[in-house]
């Protein structure tokens, strides 16, 4: 009888945890030593990170490829504008409401779109985002097609000092960025995550052990919408100006995010982090060339999809490097007594197959 233990932390993920702790310490202290330009860029990086983690949870783990997450970014932004401008709700309270509000509209949206399968679901999400945009165009009290700026009073209600506002945005942004990562991390380690992995590996087998596929997917769709809506509200609280075309832009909120995840690595937590870094470096380098960065990103994404479908981080995973311990794996503790041929890579260890 072979004895074994089930292991989650590997050496790489121990190093990973240490690296992450160090990174958090650096990021938490960033406002102390960085200029206001850097701080604002960092906030943008954080919310792209959160959006990328959300999209990755949808496409990489739940098989829900969405080209319409801008629906919830824009919705969150418009909830913020509606509550602060028309109802006089304090901006930070409105910010807190945006996420749950997005989750609520995500439920009927999902029930409708889940009637479409695979690639048709993807275009369906795009139609949904278009519908959201066209409705926003009709809200004339929020400027209709031209959009609206948050009144100075709303901005001042956060804090009358610009530096303090930047600081508040920075830490909310940091919380959202890390929150996105942690949300996916804990989701994958939970029963929900096991269910998702099981569905991904075999829908039939998953159904046979009682996993409700539709419910698992709905849960992911709603939680991703909530975080996406929150990011939208934060983005437009910081930008101060909202308009339908910008808030529901497929390029800004879906194309960029999809490229981040595809290039970094779909189906891993680390991939979107790597992808976000690459995205901002490329965008910074090509800032003077207009839309050239989009063409280049598209090309890189196509090449990556063809040559390394699991993205750049997928290459690291080939060497069994995982920074985030979401897998469980069998380790045989007594050398030699292990049953020959029982390779945990082949036998169905949850979270391992096709990871």
């Amino acid at each position: 009888m072979a004895s074994f233990r089930i292991e989650r932390l590997t050496r790489a993920s121990r190093i990973g945890v240490a690296l992450i702790a160090a990174a958090i310490a650096v990021l938490a202290s960033l406002p102390l030593w960085a200029g206001s330009g850097t701080i604002r860029l960092a906030v943008e990086i954080f919310y792209y990170l959160a959006l990328a983690e959300c999209w990755n949870l949808l496409a990489g783990y739940a098989g829900l490829v969405s080209i319409g997450q801008q629906a919830f970014v824009g919705f969150g932004g418009y909830v913020l504008a509606f509550l602060t401008i028309l109802l006089g709700v304090p901006p930070l309270v409105a910010l807190a409401v945006a996420g749950p509000a997005a989750a609520i509209v995500a439920v009927p949206t999902a029930l409708l779109l889940f009637r479409l399968r695979g690639a048709y679901f993807a275009i369906g999400t795009w139609v949904a985002a278009e519908v959201f945009r066209l409705i926003a165009l009709q809200i004339f009290s929020l400027g209709g097609g031209t959009g609206i700026s948050l009144p100075v009073s709303v901005v001042l209600a956060i804090s009358d000092s610009r530096a303090v506002r930047d600081l508040i945005f920075y830490y909310i942004g940091l919380a959202v960025g890390l929150g996105g990562i942690l949300m996916v991390f804990f989701w994958l380690r939970s029963r929900q995550g096991l269910a998702l992995t099981a569905i991904r590996d075999s829908e039939t087998a998953a159904a046979s052990v009682g996993i409700d596929k539709e419910r698992s997917k709905l849960a992911v769709y709603v939680i991703a919408a909530a975080l996406t809506g929150f990011v939208g509200a934060l983005a437009y609280l910081e930008k101060v100006r909202i308009s339908p075309d910008a808030a529901f832009s497929v390029v800004d909120w879906s194309a960029d995010v999809i490229f981040i995840v595809v290039i970094g690595g779909i189906g891993s937590i680390e991939g979107p982090i790597l992808g976000t870094v690459i995205f901002f470096v490329l965008r910074g380098l090509l800032a003077d060339y207009g839309v050239a960065y989009l063409i280049l990103l598209g090309l890189v994404a196509v090449v990556v999809m063809l040559l390394a479908p699991r993205g750049l981080w997928g290459i690291a995973e080939k060497f069994d490097i995982h920074l985030f311990p979401v897998q469980r794996r069998l380790r045989f503790t007594e050398a030699g007594s292990a049953t020959p041929g029982l390779d945990p890579k082949i036998h169905g260890v949850p979270g391992r197959a096709r990871q």
Binding site: A59, V65, I67, L112, R115, L116, R117, G118, A119, Y120, A122, I123, G124, W126, V127, E130, V131, L134, I135, L137, Q138, V250, V251, A255, I258, F259, V262, I266, G290, V291, A292, L294, I295, L297, G298, L299, A301, V302, M305, L306, P309
Partner: protein
């Protein structure tokens, strides 16, 4: 009354254009189970190719079509053989994301080359010639030609699929690519031909679009959405259903615009969503998925 009849008629004729958008999308999905996200941008690309051909050769707008169709056919073959064939498999993600990447590349590439300014193909007398049907009803000749073209293209595709050897190969490959290969069908070639034909149809749609309205690089995604809605409303796998879907979409939009000038697109989407609620498999479904 006659006004409403006119509105419905205009919408129905517009539906012909949507059916042309949809036919190519439907063909690629039917044969390969690929949903080509770049479809709308390829329509716009065809429109720009027509623009270049007209400027360089002095051809009329409609005369440029054979040239554009041959170029797009070749592009489609190369695209499938050189790129999309490598994305096919059990996973829907690679073809979806690669065509999404292509969509962004084409749209922004066109913007780099031609700028974001709206363009138009002049078709001379055809632009204004209209046909009186009596009793106050009148339609533009161009609209009639577009609709008739859609009917001809769909009839031709049906004939191709059900009456020719290559159509049999398409259907066999669609049903079971592995078995088709066992019977000597070169599936890579069949896939490439399907995309080539799809893009030839796209070129018809693109040229007619360019004569009918102004176009700019950014309008591709909306054309993809109309095509998609026509396909879903009509029912997957049914080309004639797609024509009906296009007509329903066109009528919905032209009624919407009368109710409120800002409602045309919204009305189309609402009808699409209603079909999704009431008949999720479309009006005339033919295939299982």
């Amino acid at each position: 009354m006659i006004e409403w009849l006119n509105i419905v008629l205009q919408g129905a004729l517009l539906g012909g254009l949507y059916a042309l958008f949809a036919a190519g999308l439907s063909l690629m999905f039917g044969v390969m189970r690929i949903v080509n996200i770049a479809h709308g941008d390829l329509i716009v690309l065809a429109a720009y190719i027509a623009l270049v051909v007209v400027r360089w050769s002095g051809f009329g707008a409609l005369e440029s079509l054979p040239v554009v169709a041959v170029l797009m056919f070749a592009l489609g073959y190369a695209l499938q053989r050189g790129l999309l064939n490598f994305t096919l498999g059990a996973d829907v993600l690679p073809p979806l994301l690669v065509t999404f990447g292509l969509s962004v590349i084409i749209e922004n590439g066109l913007q780099e080359i031609f700028s974001a300014d709206p363009q138009r193909l002049q078709a001379g007398r055809l632009d204004i010639a209209s046909l009186s049907l009596g009793g106050g009803l009148a339609v533009g000749w161009l609209e009639v030609i577009v609709f008739a073209t859609a009917v001809v293209v769909i009839a031709a595709l049906e004939a191709l699929l059900y009456r020719t050897a290559i159509g049999r190969a398409f259907r066999a490959t669609s049903d079971d690519a592995d078995t088709a290969r066992l019977y000597g069908v070169d599936t890579r070639h069949v896939f490439a031909l399907a995309t080539a034909i799809s893009l030839a149809v796209v070129s018809v749609a693109g040229v007619l679009l360019a004569i009918r309205t102004t176009f700019e690089p950014s309008i591709g995604p909306a054309r993809l959405i109309y095509a998609f809605e026509a396909v879903i409303i009509g029912g997957l796998g049914s080309l004639w259903g797609t024509l009906v879907g296009g007509v329903i979409l066109g009528v919905a939009q032209s009624i919407g615009i009368v109710l409120n000038p800002a409602w045309d697109l919204l009305a189309g989407h609402v009808v699409f969503l209603l079909v999704l609620v009431l008949r999720p498999r479309g009006l005339f479904p033919k295939t299982a998925d």
